[in-house]
Amino acid sequence: MKSRIRPILAAAGVIVAAGALRMPVEQAMTLDFRRQGLLEEPLAIDVKEKIGQNSMVVALAGLRTLVAAFTHLQTTEKFTKALWNEVEDHAETTVRLSPRTPYYWDIGGWHIGYNAASSYRSDHDLPKLRAEAEARRWVAKGREFFERGARNNPGEWRLWAQLGSFCSNSSFFPDDAKAAEAYGKAAATGKAPMSVDRFRLLADVRVGKDPEKALAEVRELLKEPANRVPTLLCLRYALEARENPPADPVGAVVAIFGTETKALRNLGAYFTNIHSRLPMDGVETAVRLLERRAGIAPEDSRSFIFEQDKLLDRDRFAR
């Protein structure tokens, strides 16, 4: 009997001794892996409740991202049925299970911010004021979702850029200061394409950045050929016109755009973008002069002046 118990006791002793030996090593590895982002923090109680007991066991057994893939499928299913509270719940659970997957934050923010807000806004069963209030509430939620995603993944320029884009969108109660900040953070990752710098500048201008400084920055950006996009060229013209109204507007626009046709096409599009909230100094004058030289009367349906009037009327009616 004694000889049968002895090896078991010896085995238990070795396991305990080895356990005491490895404990500090395992703790150091856990902390190191957490610092490297290789291990997640333990799941909060509310997430455990939301995913259910079975899924929780699976999630804790090293299949957290697999469970996240399934909760994401549930998000999509609820989205197709426009059950926005449930969409939010599932999106929240998904990002808690897999917080370092930018895709989940991106698509979750898109559902909560853009889709839910648009759905409430166009819900004709709700009184107009209530619908607008609901839309505003969901926009705030979407913004908060994007922001948390970006904070959880600070090196991901796309999430910061998505937040900037959402905050700049004139249909979703824009917050240009926040947009400028988000675009700035996207650019600061060092991985963002040049367009992000342009969007940051546009947001800064909308906030009311000193026109002189803004103009200097526009000129600096335009030195890069890839940045010579119509919006930035038009902004340059408007800021220059604000600083010093040109004596010869046509000459000034040709100097910027190259030809009168190109100038009219670009400035016209800029002028008719009534929700852009960008400076319009001297733009209407230039468009009128260019159209007169092209033989287009302001009452002509091809005229950008005519088109802008029409858009403004339609916008007033919609409100």
Binding site: E26, L38, L39, G62, D106, S195
Partner: protein
């Protein structure tokens, strides 16, 4: 006149013979049929393309993430289940078939027998995971190539060069990377620990069912071990009894949570060689410990 060979333990040749025999024994149990199921699962995850509704900029990226997540999830399930069941089955089966008596009647040290048995199971898991890794990498490589082509000639055709490059890099990051092979290795290491745990348990018990159930419980408790250890080490808000419980759990059970780095790789986080090296070291420690303890129990066991 030749002298009889000394019956020294840890003979690589002897261990190799037992390991190969165990491998063959398991192959005959049609374990590799699972690879067919894996291929079907891989194919299904490849068709899962419903996530990009209304977001052309995210088109396809989720399929790549799905393939990674589902493949590594299935690999984890397969390797853990096989590690437990195959190991739990071996000793009782050898007793039942009376193979064990034939082997132990020969000059085979019991330690070599245990190492050989575990080696055979690990060889089988390694070969299976290797094939699954090849399948996953192949599918990911093909799908990534198609996706890059589709996005760059479609939605991003008119984008500036730097934005096209950023998109291409984003897609490639979701495809087949070296980190994925590291994750597969981590899956293998986890299965090595659970298999050696099952071996240790099977030296105590003679019932396959008992060993299997206990090993599954050890696996789940092992996933909480880090929480118990933190209760013991930090002691915040915990009474003496809870701390003692935390200490007991963390001393007895292996920490399986450390192997959850696989989840991070699925999320696109790089697995450093140092991190992988420390996992290999820890796994070696567990396997050697479990083998040694198994031998302590098995050495004096009478059949």
């Amino acid at each position: 006149m030749s002298r009889p060979a000394k019956n020294r333990p840890l003979s690589p040749r002897r261990i190799g013979v037992i390991a190969l025999h165990t491998f063959t024994q398991l192959v005959r149990m049609k374990v590799f049929y699972f690879l067919g199921i894996f291929a079907v699962v891989l194919l299904c995850s490849n068709l899962l393309n419903i996530q990009d509704m209304g977001r052309p900029d995210l088109e396809g990226a989720d399929v790549l993430r799905s393939i990674r997540s589902v493949s590594l999830g299935v690999m984890t399930l397969f390797s853990v289940v096989l590690g437990i069941v195959a190991t739990a089955l071996l000793l009782p089966k050898d007793v039942e078939d009376r193979t064990l008596y034939t082997i132990l009647a020969k000059p085979v040290p019991r330690l070599d027998y245990l190492i050989g048995k575990l080696g055979g199971v690990l060889l089988l898991i390694f070969v299976s995971l290797f094939v699954m890794d090849l399948l996953m990498t192949g599918v990911l490589a093909i799908r990534t190539h198609l996706l890059v082509e589709q996005q760059l000639t479609g939605m991003a055709a008119a984008w500036p060069a730097d934005e096209r490059e950023a998109l291409r890099q984003d897609i490639l990051r979701q495809g087949a990377t070296w980190d994925l092979h590291g994750a597969t290795l981590a899956v293998f290491l986890r299965s090595a620990v659970i298999a050696s745990t099952a071996l240790l348990l099977s030296t105590f018990s003679t019932s396959t069912l008992f060993t299997t159930i206990t090993a599954v419980l050890v696996y789940f408790i092992g996933n909480f071990q880090a929480d118990a250890r933190e209760v013991f080490l930090s002691g915040e808000g915990a009474g003496p009894l809870e701390r003692a419980g935390g200490m007991a759990l963390s001393v007895v059970f292996p920490d399986f949570k450390l192997y959850n780095v696989v989840d991070s790789v699925v999320q696109g986080i790089a697995l450093s060689p140092a991190a992988l090296g420390s996992l290999v070291g820890l796994t070696a420690f567990y396997v050697v410990l479990h083998l040694f303890v198994s031998w302590l129990v098995f050495a004096g066991k009478e059949f």
